[in-house]
């Protein structure tokens, strides 16, 4: 499959497709935390870097098979997501946002001084094990599991926390457990995406996972429509392609990107597909006329 693709599809487009896949894994993770549960996280790149470094070190220094390394990276990220979920029991809104920013910054500075990770120079020589097929198979599995989760009892509890935490608690939702669960699952996907990223780039450095990366991922989730799987995918596709399309304006690229964010938010304040759920679309399409 991959041999076929590299033969017939331009390497540049293939690369963009791989990045879209990686970004979808990352943003669906962030969507669980911020979009669905409503806990503003501005440090998703921190989870990504944990997954990236863990999996890269495992496969370079210990020659661990690719998928085992990926899983290990995702599990390390999930562990930290679990730990970061605990302060959310006491903090909310912007206080929580600042804790997640701080967490990602601490992780970044840690890797800047981390000997096995090559410190500030970066970590190179990672085998390029990420392939188009590999990424997109995982993307499809992740979308399916997300869909299953969000239409389950647990998923509805998460939405309920976002809508009104007190009401959710009164209805018997264990908000503590569900919030920590959302953080753990979101971080797992963050670590998974980070692992794919590291094994696609040959080379990673702490600068790849700075504050701007977290913001970029948050933009994708909010732009597409928080809490909506099709929305998040659409937002991710648009914002992954946009900087590439804007290459024609060269130096003015980021200028347009910034203006684009403002304009899109003014015209679609709730995101492009705010709260459209796959379930609703299905219901609308197959609704029987009464």
């Amino acid at each position: 499959m991959d041999a076929f693709l590299t033969q017939y599809v331009d390497a540049y487009y293939l690369r963009i497709m791989v990045f879209i896949g990686i970004n979808i894994i990352l943003t669906l993770g962030l969507n669980l935390i911020t979009g669905v549960t409503g806990q503003l996280s501005m440090g998703h790149a921190g989870f990504m870097s944990l997954g990236a470094y863990t999996s890269a070190i495992l496969s370079v220094h210990y020659a661990v098979p690719f998928f085992v390394a990926l899983l290990a990276g995702a599990l390390v990220a999930a562990l930290f997501g679990f730990l970061l979920g605990i302060p959310t029991l006491r903090l909310e809104g912007d206080y929580l946002a600042v804790v997640t920013i701080g967490f990602a910054e601490i992780i970044r500075v840690f890797f800047l001084n981390f000997e096995p990770g090559g410190k500030a120079v970066g970590f190179s020589g990672i085998p390029q094990s990420t392939t188009f097929t590999g990424v997109w198979i995982v993307v499809i599995i992740v979308i399916y599991l997300n869909y299953k989760l969000l239409n389950s009892r647990a998923g509805r509890s998460l939405y309920a926390i976002r809508e009104n935490e007190i009401a959710a608690e009164a209805c018997g939702v264990n908000t503590t457990r569900m919030k920590v669960l959302a953080f753990t699952m979101g971080a797992f996907l963050g670590g998974l995406g980070g692992g794919f990223f590291a094994h696609y780039m040959y080379f990673i450095e702490p600068g790849n996972f700075g504050f701007m990366k977290s913001i970029e991922l948050l933009n994708m989730v909010v732009l597409g429509g928080m809490g909506s799987i099709p929305g998040v995918i659409l937002g991710t596709v648009i914002l992954t392609i946009a900087p590439e399309m804007l290459r024609i304006v060269q130096d003015y690229r980021m200028l347009f990107y910034g203006a684009l964010l403002v304009i899109l938010m003014i015209f679609r304040p709730n995101g492009l597909l705010g709260d459209v759920r796959i379930y609703d679309i299905k219901k609308r399409l197959f609704r029987k006329e009464v």
Binding site: L40, E105, V222
Partner: protein, 291 residues
């Protein structure tokens, strides 16, 4: 040695406090984390530099000029990017809009001035003198005095004037204020203007103190100032001052006695610890949740 570090911390902290005030005032009224605030601070630093080098103004005139320019810039940003969103969207959409403005402004400056560091001309003779055994530079005194004057001025403005009263009313309940005949849009515009002016003052002074400005300086400074505002209790004006000074001192102490390679991490680690122990920040009020 210890007292000198405290003084360095106070100098750094007072610039954090100036930026944090803008965050906290805007947040207090419209509950928006104004992520473009760091870029306003960066613009202040560059306008100050321009006034000094191109027009040959002295430091205080440059400070004033930068403050006026950023006042207008802050109001313009509010008018274009935030006002259309107000009332009809979630707070997160406004946040993304703010991020858009932030990216736009820093790229704009990078296009105008190039992405590299520009040095500030030396404006104040490097006089140092001793207070007891503590070495103090003239510049540090100027920064501390100017920041203190600005903060006292702000307190007077908020507590004693009519518009200050309107600001306080809006931060309590924006809908009720508008029913009482307060022009809410004007108050918000004014808040942005004041916050931006303070950030510009901070930018000029940091530029002189560290002798360097660059287009992306706003991101880290904005992040730390936001952290300072949260540390003090976001929405509380005295909290932003206390938070800024505390963060500045902690950061300098961390560098002096622990390790400089962990500089940024230390500030955030302490911040997280404080928030876990005191979730509403140092001076914030605990709002009990209502059903």
């Amino acid at each position: 040695m210890f007292l000198e570090q405290v003084l360095n911390g106070l100098t750094l902290g007072s610039t954090y406090a100036l930026i944090a005030l803008g965050y906290t005032m805007v947040y207090g009224i419209v509950q928006l984390i104004n992520f473009a605030h760091g870029e306003i601070y960066m613009f202040g630093a560059f306008i100050g530099l321009f006034l000094v080098t191109a027009l040959g103004l002295n430091i205080f005139a440059a400070l004033l000029g930068a403050m006026i320019f950023c006042m207008l810039l802050g109001m313009l940003v509010e008018r274009i990017a935030y006002r259309p969103l107000r009332g009809k969207s979630s707070r997160l959409s406004a946040l993304i809009s703010a991020i858009g403005v932030s990216i736009f402004l820093s790229t704009l400056m990078a296009l105008i001035r190039g992405p590299n560091t520009t040095r500030y001309p030396e404006m104040i003779a490097q006089n140092t003198f001793y207070l007891g055994s503590v070495e103090v530079s003239a510049l540090q005194i100027i920064i501390l005095v100017v920041s203190a004057l600005l903060m006292i001025g702000l307190q007077l403005l908020i507590q004693k004037t009519r518009i200050g009263k309107a600001m306080r009313a809006c931060s309590q309940d924006i809908d009720a204020s508008s029913l009482m005949g307060i022009n809410v849009n004007r108050v918000i515009s004014f808040t942005f203007a004041i916050g931006s002016a303070l950030a510009a003052a901070g930018g000029v002074m940091v530029g002189i103190y560290y002798n360097a400005v660059w287009p992306y300086m706003g991101t880290m400074a904005g992040l730390k100032a936001f952290a300072a505002a949260v540390l003090g209790g976001i929405g509380s004006v005295p909290g932003a001052m206390v938070g800024g000074l505390t963060l500045g001192i902690l950061e300098i102490m961390g560098v002096a006695y622990l390790s400089s390679s962990y500089k940024d991490a230390i500030a955030f680690a302490i911040l997280i610890l404080v928030l876990i122990i005191r979730p509403q920040g140092l001076m914030g009020q605990k709002i009990s949740k209502k059903v």
